[in-house]
Symmetry: C2
Subunit: 357 residues, 2 copies
Amino acid sequence: MSPNQSVSGEARIADVPGPDSVAEAHAAARQRELTKPPGALGRLETLAVWMAGRQRRVIPRPVTAIAIVYAADHGVAVRGVSAYPSSVTAQMVAAIAAGHAAVSVFARTLGVDLRIVDAGVAADLSAIAGVVHAKVRHGTADLSVGAAMARYEAMRALDVGREQAARAIDDGADLLIAGEIGIANTTAAAALICALLRRAPARIVGRGTGVDEEGLRRKVEAVSMGVRRVRRAAISDPVEVLAELGGLEIAAMAGTYLESARRAVPVILDGFISAAAAVLAVSMAPNCREWLIAGHLSAEAAHRVALEWLRLQPILDLELRLGEGTGALLALPIVRAALAMHAEMLTFDEAGVSRSG
Amino acid sequence: MSPNQSVSGEARIADVPGPDSVAEAHAAARQRELTKPPGALGRLETLAVWMAGRQRRVIPRPVTAIAIVYAADHGVAVRGVSAYPSSVTAQMVAAIAAGHAAVSVFARTLGVDLRIVDAGVAADLSAIAGVVHAKVRHGTADLSVGAAMARYEAMRALDVGREQAARAIDDGADLLIAGEIGIANTTAAAALICALLRRAPARIVGRGTGVDEEGLRRKVEAVSMGVRRVRRAAISDPVEVLAELGGLEIAAMAGTYLESARRAVPVILDGFISAAAAVLAVSMAPNCREWLIAGHLSAEAAHRVALEWLRLQPILDLELRLGEGTGALLALPIVRAALAMHAEMLTFDEAGVSRSG
């Protein structure tokens, strides 16, 4: 690893490159020459041009994607904010590693290398084969009553995500997907969005995986308590906010987005949790936004709020609310098709087709 | 070919099977058992259950799709209703056959067998390799001033589509996609929708591939003239309406949808032209609707009108307005992922994961 590929320390956070606007302009010109009415392939044209700017090539190469699922537990689960018990996090890690979960099936179907990382599950997962063990701590503390983790733990969880991104890129990925599993993590994600974007909990908290009316009330209350504490302490540094409201897997996802952007590798965002991680990453390094593709709009209502702040338009809208990276993976064939179209179609001149009269 | 696989004659139009509601119910029950919150995979769950009803299996097989692009010309093009001259139809047939058009690239990327059929191009295409020659006539007549074709020609064009569907199914397809190329065919499609669904041309006619303001005015006028003639003559039989307002490729697409439904094979619809063909097919055989998946919502505003009448919810919304089958092909990976998820995920019991509390 060369010195400029270092993945620890904070100095490089601001060191995120921008896209190549010249390559983008040339790619847009090429789109106007291909044998179709200008603009007729809508979002696929935009994606191809966007990718040209990121790969710094008028005709971007086909992408090799790697998906990384981060798992962690949340102390706030004891407040009854989820329809599932915390033990499900570890069980789902095993299911993902064994290839039986939704994200496993989609990754296999699409030929994507899938990695599962324990960033902070509250159980010993050492017996599960195929898991990357990077546990920062055994789940966070209850964010509603105090800091979810120490600042050094938040930094460490960010670094877990940076390290995994660096490894995936070194392994040949030029497109990354980060997913998550963590019972109660829509509570932490909602709290982060409320604190970072100054929104009211009642407008951001949703049902997640399907909590009932009473659970939703408890969830709003837990988020409100955590956010109120952050506001009273006038905490605005994103890493401090992260430490207060947590999400070891959310931190790792944000770290993946930061490192990916630093290495000029685009990412496809997943659902609501992923958007919260992206808000965190962009709060730390605004240029990071330039490397994000919104894979889909989830059924969690506040996902839209986060995507609007990120100024991202989702590719898919399939009423998903699963996470794991499933929505990001489902958007991958659209990205692949956009790149194939851009590279393989002929121009009007090359094909001998008459232009618009 | 056995007698009940006959593809000509009209008797079998009413003979469209319905889905297997028992298989659907069992598939829906299976979805509730898989290791995810119930409903968390949104539209993918609906698609998997829908396909179970069509394949009459609780766990449907992976699908083998074949895409058929029908090409034909439109006499109404002389009215200046399109941004492109009619000669582009033949040029695009050559580009598709050579593998350079958008639909060719998408089919190749997705591993889908693509067939291109001359249903009525106003040029001699015999020199183009790889084209199925089934020309009914050299383009239609101008629908604004008289019948686009004779009734027997409309019947013949429907049969071209039926025959191609039968051939594709005999070749192993259990999912069909029909696309089209035909300069001025959004004019014919708009006229068909206006006549069949009793809508006002000004609300249905759009810019197609990108006609200018003056061209749009001419297009509304041409559609209005044709639709007025049909209404004055009190023509309501769908085949008569088709003969009056035309579209040899639209007829062939409708024939494909009818035969596909008769053989209990689902189809993925493409854009606006495809929706007009589906409206025609469903007007002829209402049960045909049960075999249709809406691949996407196109940028042509009236596409929504047709899909609402068909009671279909599109999978994608990518601002496409190209046709050729491109939008239907882009939806295929979502259908494939839905089936893989349904077949390959484990249930809570199988995976040893705790259920919702």
